[in-house]
Symmetry: C2
């Protein structure tokens, strides 16, 4: 049900489904994603349940859009979610599952190749986050003190992405060098 809460959270300021999708792409990119089709469906349900209202409005750029607004019931739901403490614990990493069984190929060179590909992909994601960070630092020299509280919270989530993906890349490097050692021993 977390998608519900995220949509309600974004709608602390009115927005359309399409605009909400931008949030996922710009802000949540490194820790959550939702397809437009799912967003539209969920907004509709949330409105039927009384957490949102909506109305058509002209767009500055393009066709009319349906703008959603949160109701008091919606605000209350976000509040409960925020006060209930952190939800930890459903990471899902398909590549770690693959790595577990990669020994089945009985060929360490294949494992090495896999890890090198993985390292590349992880570095690319790291580069994206670093770009966002750099952009932010360029615009706000006094970081993080100069940020208002809302931006500061956003900034903390970005730091998390940076620190986690940074650790992953280090791990990949380390694994690659251990694999190389193992290959030399044979």
């Amino acid at each position: 049900m977390t998608l519900d809460h995220i949509l309600l959270g974004i709608l602390r300021r009115p927005a359309s489904g399409y605009e909400i999708k931008q949030w996922f792409e710009n802000v949540f990119q490194h820790f959550w994603n939702a397809k437009l089709s799912q967003i539209y469906r969920t907004l509709k349900r949330l409105e039927a349940q009384g957490y949102l209202t909506s109305e058509m409005a002209p767009s500055e750029q393009g066709p009319d859009k349906r703008v959603y607004r949160i109701t008091p019931a919606g605000r209350a739901r976000v509040q409960v979610w925020l006060e209930q403490g952190p939800e930890v614990g459903n990471d899902r990493h398909a590549y770690l599952a693959q790595l577990t069984f990669l020994s089945e190929l009985k060929d360490l060179r294949k494992s090495l190749e896999f890890m090198e590909q993985l390292r590349t992909r992880l570095s690319q994601r790291l580069a994206v986050l670093r770009g966002i960070d750099a952009h932010w630092r360029a615009e706000e020299p006094g970081l993080p003190d100069s940020l208002d509280d809302e931006q500061f919270h956003l900034y903390l989530t970005l730091q998390m992405g940076l620190s986690k993906i940074g650790a992953s890349v280090k791990w990949a490097d380390d694994s690659i060098s251990q694999l190389n050692k193992r290959l030399e021993r044979k």
Copy 2:
């Protein structure tokens, strides 16, 4: 469809649904989880699709169990999955979503409290992984060189967990100290 592949991967050695669940709890704990109900249903489908066969067998401890065995078609499917390169990119962290909107409470002490709870939970997970690591080191002094290739791959996934959760705890500490600074400034 990754669950399919994981089940087939585990079944490189015959096992029952209940035993597979132990794998998720012991080995995959830090990066994947599946409920028993889902495992049973998926095994059934995989058998119908010809990737598995099964037969009832007596248990050492408890009632009879249904033991699944992988077929050549199943092995081929795992092979394809392993050779296709790493699947990266759907981390989902509910707590980062919560943190994003925590500014709505307009009370940095609430944010601080949240981060402290989060830090506690993350440390607990780290402690579990460290325990597994310590146990491993105690039994295998020459780590990682003394491991066979299968264990070595497993060991790499554990290192990943250690490194990622370690980074998360560091990030939480850092965030807490930044929040404290911010609180003092007011």
